[in-house]
Every structure is written in C-alpha cells, then in structure tokens.
Symmetry: D2
C-alpha cells in the first residue's frame, strides 16, 4: 500500500435509545418532535455522561444554533432500542457540527445535523472551545 | 399602475404561543427541542383548529418529512405570548413547504422551514393534496 | 340575614387550555401524564403570569410536594380549549393545597389536588409564605 | 417453623431510568411532571417490553384512572440512572393498583401509587383482566 494514505473512518458515538410510549403520537409513529429528544439524549450521553464516567471533565456549556432533520421512514412501537449514531463533521474554534443517524441494523429512520456553539452560561456569552473539548471532538471526526 | 405587477405579499398565519414553564430548561432559556413544539402547535392551529372553526374541512393526514431550524436569539420566561408566523413557500401535488418565524414586535427568536407530505393514515401511504387543501395553502402563499 | 352565615364561594382561577396535538397519545386520548402539564400551565398562569400582568409581585419559588389526580373521562382532540379551574383548599405558613377541575360546560375530565411548599431557590431551603402571597391565596379560598 | 406462615415478599419490577437533560427544569431539579414519565416508562417496560422479550403476550389495553405521587427529595443531574421499583398492591377483576419507589441505593426521591383499569381499546370500553394478565400481576404482588 505504498503511497496510500488511509483515512481512519470517523468513530461514531453510539447511543441506544428506547422507544418510549410517550414518543408515539396519535398517528401511531414516533412523532417528529420527539426525534429531537433522541438527538438531545445522545448528545447528553456524548458530552456529559460518557466524559463523566471516563473521569474526564464534561463539556462546558453548549447551545444548539441550528438543526436539519430528515424523516426517512416511520418508526413505531418496538421492544428493541434504536441506535443514535453521532459523529463530528466540522470543528471551528467556537462551534462544531454533528451528523446523526437514528437507525438499527436494518434501516435508517432519521438523519440530521446540528450546529453547536460553545457558550459560557455564567457570562451568557459565546466562548472558545477548550483544548480538551477539541481533542474529544477529534475522536469522532474523520 | 401601468406595467407594474404587484405581488400580493403572502398572508401569514399568526399563532400566539405562551411560553410555558416546561419550555425553559436548566440553562434558563426555551429549550431548542421545545421550539419544535411551537411549530407543531402553530401547524395544528393552521391545519386543524382554524379550518374546523371556519366550518371548513380540516386537512387530512400530513406528515413532516424535513425541518430546518435556526436559533437566532435566546428566549426566556415572559408573561406575553410570542407569535408563530407561518406561510407557504412551495406547493407540489403531494407535498408543500412552510416557513416560520417565532417572534414578537421587537425580535425574531427562531426561523424555520418544514416540508410536509400528504399522507393517507388508513392506507399508510402517500396521497395527493385535495383541491380544497391546495386552495387553503394558496391563501398563505406569495 | 339574622342567624344566617353566608359563605362566599371560593373564587376559582380559570385557565383556558388548548388540547395540543402532542397531548394525545397512541390510544387517541389526552395522555395521563400530559394532564399534569395542564395543571402546571394553570399554576404558572395563576402564580406568575396573572400577578405579573396585574402589576403585582409574582410568587417566589414554589415546589410541588404531592399530587393526587383522578381521570374521570377520556378527552380527545377538539377545537375548543378546556378550562382548568383551580382553587385553594388549605393554607399553612409554609405550604398550601390546591384543588382543580379540568372541564368544560358539559363534563369534568380530571379532578386533582396538589400540595405546594414555599421554597427559597437560592438557599435551596423551605421558606415561609409572604404576606402578599397569603393574601393572594385567600382570594381563591372559600 | 410450625404455625408460621411466611409471606414471600413481593417481587419488585426494576426499571433503570436515565435522568434526561429534558427532565431538569429551570429550578435545577427533575420537574414534578417529568417523574410521571418515569412511572410511565417503568410501566411500559413491565407490561409491554418485558413480556414481549420473554415471549409472552403483552398486556392488552390499560388506562390509568388515578395517581398519587409524593416528592420526597429533589433529584438533579447525575450520570447514573435511578431505579423505578414497581409492585402490585391490589388486584381486582377489572383493575389493579401499583406502588412505586423512584430511588437509588442511598435515597428515595419519589413514592407513588397508580390505579390501572383494563380497557378494550377497540370497543372503547372496560374489560376484565385475562388469566395470563392476572398471573403476571401476581408475580409482583405480596
């Protein structure tokens, strides 16, 4: 493989998410708004719970500044969790972009992207991402 | 008015929305997911409650296939409702696109667009928009 | 009026509540958990928005310490709001009890009671109700 | 052990529940309404997901007719799930009563009871609990 630079594929953050009774609306499928909860739960796992459990410092304040979300196929009640797969597609000094798939082994139900800005909650102002935050993001970036 | 084609500006659907206690998260602002509720409430007013109150037939089934949403400025607790303004930017035989602003007279907090597809709930299949649905959409279209 | 003590009936706080699309679950009725939102919205109107609009000081921190709630008849989609009627059944120096009916002119859907304790959010500790808070509560008490 | 009737303690259904970002309100604790979601999630696990995973028939329709819930101590963000423990305290032909504790090894945050009625969703009418439903309930009853 001389001369070939192999790019490591981005490591995806995997978050198993139960389909809750409350997620399913009167039309019998997980409601479009509720899928944003799935993304929030996955981010909370990725940026708060996982670093905490690993003994790392969790991320300081983050705010969502944009979402794009596409509903690709309906999801109904099921006993098995679905999987929120999350990875990082862009890193800037003060913000970054996430991509997601909500899926199982058979199908992708939702794809989405979010832009998150680093935010200083106490000063109510933007801030720069710290070195340790940037290093963590790079682990999920191609 | 010789030679001048005046375009009637799109009529916007106006939906006053109370900022609920449950909308505000631990960072002190309306949570990004909750704003999707504001859009859903406005659509439910526009496509079900208003037609019903006017003696018209409400829309048959609709499903959201895509959202884009930009969070432009934080919104906190307040006694006055905000206003969800909604209008139609594209109409196709089987789907249409909405644009929204969540705002008051001073500021715009959120802008968004949604693509909605006509859906036959009983057959669980796409359908075409009816004549009366198309006519209703045109009232909110430039 | 000799010998007759007339009791003024308690003034009830009236809060009109739209049945939101998100309130109705996959069984076609307003979900039991969502009715607690109706109670929260009514309390937020009663203790924050109404005093604010009247130029009074809103209540300081309150925390719910208990709910009892009975679901008397199912409620489905409807264009007309229901009414949350709230009144005060007991006042103590550090807590009070509310009773509610969620209803319209034809039927009562839910009855409930809540115990609320006065709470100092900054000190994270119980506190006594202020004179102006007690006076406000008495207006809704028999 | 002559003359001693030993009562088997009720087997409790155990449901681990993550504290979600959305559960925590602007006062910094899990909101009182959100705890009802914890109870619903635990019931959905107990009456639908667990029987499904065990190859048993899940429960037919159930409706909540009453909740009592006491908030005993505030719960904030945490990386570890809490545990919803659920057991059956009364069984009648058409309804049953559950008791719950939301807790961890150190403390009890919430205690509650719910009355659930067997409901025929298609006929929109009460029904009797089936033999297999009664047998399942007895496993969680003292």
């Amino acid at each position: 493989m001389t001369g070939v630079v192999e790019r490591t594929p981005a490591q995806r953050h995997l978050y198993p998410r139960v389909v809750r009774f409350a997620d399913v609306d009167s039309q019998g499928h997980v409601n479009n708004v509720r899928f944003l909860d799935y993304l929030e739960d996955a981010r909370f796992g990725m940026f708060h719970i996982d670093p905490h459990n690993a003994g790392d410092e969790p991320f300081k304040g983050l705010v969502v500044t944009r979402h794009e979300i596409d509903y690709r196929r309906p999801l109904g009640f099921r006993a098995e969790p679905v999987r929120v797969e999350t990875w990082v597609t862009e890193i800037r000094p003060v913000r970054f972009t996430l991509a997601y798939e909500i899926r199982d082994d058979e199908a992708v139900y939702v794809t989405a992207t979010s832009v998150l800005a680093a935010y200083d909650v106490e000063r109510a102002a933007p801030r720069r991402l710290s070195e340790s935050e940037l290093a963590y993001l790079k682990r999920f970036s191609a």
